[in-house]
Structure formats: structure tokens, C-alpha cells
């Protein structure tokens, strides 16, 4: 018990004193997750809006596929990309393995279905008169999508935040593809895993606290968004 309390106090002091290693790991995590969220959002939002607005053969199948991908374990994505990026893999020449880019790609793939699904839900739950009004005002495909995104922006933003939350808490793919290289690909989650395996709790606990704070801020923002939508 004493040991745990000491570790907790040490962790707290690491955060308060803005320990350089903690800061580096947090920044790596945040930058990687932000980049992954940005890439996923740029692809998932237009795809989600287009899918919600149009009827086409195979739509139901894609919906099922998205639901399946949402539940895909991160280690499976890690495994697949490892195979692609390793020296013998088809993309081995790109030299992406054990770089932050590999983690960004993995996390973007991981959160793409989440963001796309939440965008589809956002558009489907918007006022049904939105689309007919835009149609009657002569909106063509692209302006229609722009206006629908504008009108449902809060719900879509909630989807982006949910995706970011998932990315920053991800550990399996980050470990497999990043290699947990200090100062380069070491993220909060991989650092926690490493520190725990070494039996050193202070740094891991401090990073855990930062993660919890981030999760709290994200959840608080989400509920604020939901309140302003209602």
C-alpha cells in the first residue's frame, strides 16, 4: 500500500514539475493521434455524408462492414500493417515500420469506421427537411454535402472527438508498428506498458493520470456538444 502511495505521489510530482520525458511522450501521443484523427476525418466525413445522402446497391453491405471494422481488435490492424510494412512486405521499401507514420496510418484506419459511422448517424438524425430544402434551393452534390456538414457540424465534431479518444488510448498497433522507441514512437500507452513490465510505476502512473485527464476533457467536451445540439 505504501509502495503504491509513494508511486502515486512521485507520479503527481512528475506531472506538476512538467517532467521533460513525460512531456515528450504526451506530445508524441497527442501529435500522432491528432494526425490520425485529421486523416480519418478528411476521408470519413465526406464518405459518411455521401453514404447517408445517397442510395446505391451494396449500401447495406457497407454498413455491416463498417460495424464489423468498428469492432476489429487493434492488434489485428497492427498485424496486417506489420506484414505490409516489414522488409519483406509489399510496402517494405517505404521504410515506415517503427516510425510515427506507421502508427498514424494504423490509428487512422482504426478510427475511420468510427468517424464514418458517427457521421452517417449524424446526417440520418438531422431534420429530414434539411435535405429537401437544399434540393429545392438547387443544391448540387458538392454544395449539398457542404451544407449538410455545416448543419450537422456539432454531431460530426462529436464523432471526431470520439475517434481521437480511441486513437490516443490505443496500445496494440502503436506497440507493434512503432516499436516503442524513446523520444520517437513512444506514446503514453506504450510507455505505460513498458514501465509496468519493468515494475516501475511512477512514470506509468503519471502517464495514466494524463490519459485520464485527456479522457475527462474529451468526455466533458462531448457532453457539452450534446447539450448545445439539444
Amino acid at each position: 500500500m505504501d509502495y503504491f502511495a509513494t508511486s502515486f505521489a512521485a507520479a503527481f510530482s512528475l506531472i506538476v514539475n512538467l517532467d521533460p520525458e513525460i512531456m515528450r511522450i504526451v506530445m508524441t501521443s497527442v501529435v500522432i493521434s491528432l494526425a490520425a484523427s485529421l486523416i480519418a476525418a478528411v476521408l470519413a466525413i465526406p464518405a459518411g455524408v455521401a453514404m447517408a445522402l445517397h442510395r446505391f446497391p451494396g449500401k447495406r453491405f457497407i454498413q455491416h462492414l463498417l460495424n464489423t471494422l468498428m469492432a476489429m481488435p487493434t492488434v489485428v490492424i497492427g498485424l496486417l500493417l506489420y506484414g505490409m510494412f516489414s522488409r519483406q512486405g509489399p510496402l517494405g521499401d517505404w521504410g515506415l515500420l517503427f516510425t510515427p507514420y506507421a502508427i498514424i496510418i494504423a490509428e487512422a484506419i482504426l478510427i475511420f469506421p468510427i468517424m464514418m459511422n458517427l457521421t452517417i448517424t449524424a446526417v440520418n438524425s438531422a431534420d429530414p427537411r434539411l435535405v429537401t430544402t437544399l434540393q429545392s434551393l438547387g443544391a448540387r452534390t458538392l454544395p449539398m454535402m457542404q451544407q449538410v456538414i455545416r448543419a450537422t457540424r456539432l454531431a460530426i465534431l462529436a464523432g471526431i472527438i470520439t475517434g481521437f479518444g480511441r486513437a490516443i488510448g490505443e496500445v496494440g498497433a502503436a506497440m507493434m508498428l512503432g516499436g516503442n522507441i524513446a523520444g520517437y514512437t513512444r506514446t503514453m500507452t506504450t510507455a505505460i506498458a513498458l514501465e509496468t513490465s519493468k515494475g516501475e510505476f511512477e512514470l506509468g502512473l503519471a502517464l495514466g493520470m494524463v490519459l485520464l485527464i485527456i479522457a475527462f476533457v474529451l468526455n466533458f467536451t462531448l457532453s457539452a456538444l450534446n447539450r448545445s445540439k439539444a
Binding site: D127, R129, L130, T132, T133, L134, Q135, S136, L137, G138, A139, R140, P143, Q147, R150, A151
Partner: protein
Amino acid sequence: MTPVYQLQDIQMRFADTEALNIESLVLPANQSTALLGENGAGKSTLMHLLAFISRPQHGHISLGNQLISDKPSAAQRRRIGFVSQQPYLLPGTVRDNLRLALKLQQIPKATYGDLIEQALALVNLTNQADQDAATLSGGELKRAAIARAIAYQPDILLLDEPFSHLDQRHIRQLEQTITQFAAEQDKTVIFSTHDRLQAMAIADHSISLVGGRVTAAPLLNLYHGQCRELLFHTGRIIIHVADDASQARHIAIDPSQIIISDQPLHHSSMLNRFQGRLVQIAEESGHVRLLVDCGELFHAIITPTSLQRLSLHLGDTVWLHFKASAVSVF
């Protein structure tokens, strides 16, 4: 008559219900037309087709002389302004909404200012231009939606139930806006309503819809039932008809064809004679509308002089007479 719309063989079904079945319909250009019908008669479905928001499941529609096979072109879309029954304004101010309409219709940016001011002035909403659309009252919202629809100066204005949920003052304002737009600017206005007198008051002519079909019959005194051997059974009363149509499910009687008297007219050619109680007297558009309960409710229209001569009061017993040939069967 120059047609603005020509509809051929239009059919629309939702689930198992026939929403619209129009063999042929021509709507005239540069005039105002009222689409009359009860709730569920197919007015909104027809309005959505005319606005090209939905496509007919069967049949085709021409705008002007051009058949619209898939989607209308940008220029054709620009000819039409549509205001739905419960208009939706996008987030932002009233002006933002008008500006968006102009942008979507690809109107040159330099003209935005003038067009917005003109549209807002026509609906008397200049003072609310910079108000957040979410804070508008029901009447203001409807007027803002009309301003948005006319901002890009379409030559056809489609209004779906524009008078619903409005108080008398706003109804009058809106009637004025519609007549002004139609008459002064020589435009086509097509609006749907269930109020026949209102349609008569502001539209050049009207089209009645019953169960998704176009009928020439007036829509006051509309009864549903079954026809057997020149007798129509509503379930409450039996009405003599002149057309033997066993397939017919509806009849309608023009209120101006109903004769009101305080005594039964025994020596008359009119086959239909009902005794009833006067339950409503209302003045509308210079005429007097009476509502008489004879088992079914009948609307009759008489002149103010007749009302005076018969010295009618609420609760009086009166007699209704009309010819079998005054009954439209469909």
C-alpha cells in the same frame, strides 16, 4: 393558355397506399392555381413532384415544353421557388438563408444585396433581416422561407399549405404577398390549401384532389360512401345522384347549388330534400356560409340579402334542396 407544367400518367405509391394517380394535368403559366384537397389527398406529394424534390414512380412531367426525364438543369431549377408546409431555415440569420439560396442558385454575387432587400420587402420582413432564424415566430418563419424562395426571382412559386398554423392577420398578409407576386410580377403561383373559399378568393382557378386523383368537383360537402342504383349511401343519409357509377366512392355538392328554405319545397324538381339544424353562420368574401346539420354537415352559400329575408338564426330548423345533377360522383 400557355402551360407551365404538363403531367402525364403520374403514379405514386407509398407502401400499399396509392398517393397519386393523375392521368393528365396541365397547369397554366402566369396565373395562380390552388390545389384543393383534404389531408392525405396527395397535395404535398404533387407539390414535391412539381418542385422536382421527388421523382414520379411512373409517368412524366414537363416544365414549359421540356420533358424532365431525370433531374432538372440548374436553369430549370432556378425557375422554381418552393416553400414546404413546415419550412426549414438553415442555421444563421434570415439574410444568411437568402444569401445561401442565391449562392446555391449560382446568382452573380454583385446582385445579392438588391435581390435580398427586394425579397424581404415583399414579405415585409426587412426589420428581421439580421435576426437569428431560430428565434423567428411561426408567421415570420413562413415569410422568411417565402423570401428565400423568391430571392432568386423564380417565375414559378410553389407553396405547400402556406396558410396552415397561421393567425388571421398573418393569413391576410400572406394572401396579399401571393396576389402581389402573381399579379404585379406576372408569375405563376401554385399553392395547396384545404380551404375552398380561400382558394376562390385568391387563385385564378383551382384543382381538386381526392384520394390522389384530380377531380373537377368542389371540395366542400365531400362525402365518402357507396353508390347503388342512383343512390349514394354515406352511412348516415342517402343522397340521390344523376350518374350511375357503382365504382364511385365519393360525392361532392357545390355549396352554391344548395337551396335553403324555412319550409320544405314540395313542388320542385329537386330530388334531394333534407331537414336540418343551422349550426353556423359565417360571412366570407362577401357571401354568407351556412353550416347545416342534416345527419351529415352541409355547407351552403347564400347572399347577405337572403340571410336577412329568411331571418335565420343559429339553431333554426331549415330545409336543404338540391338536384341530383348537382352532385358530382367520383
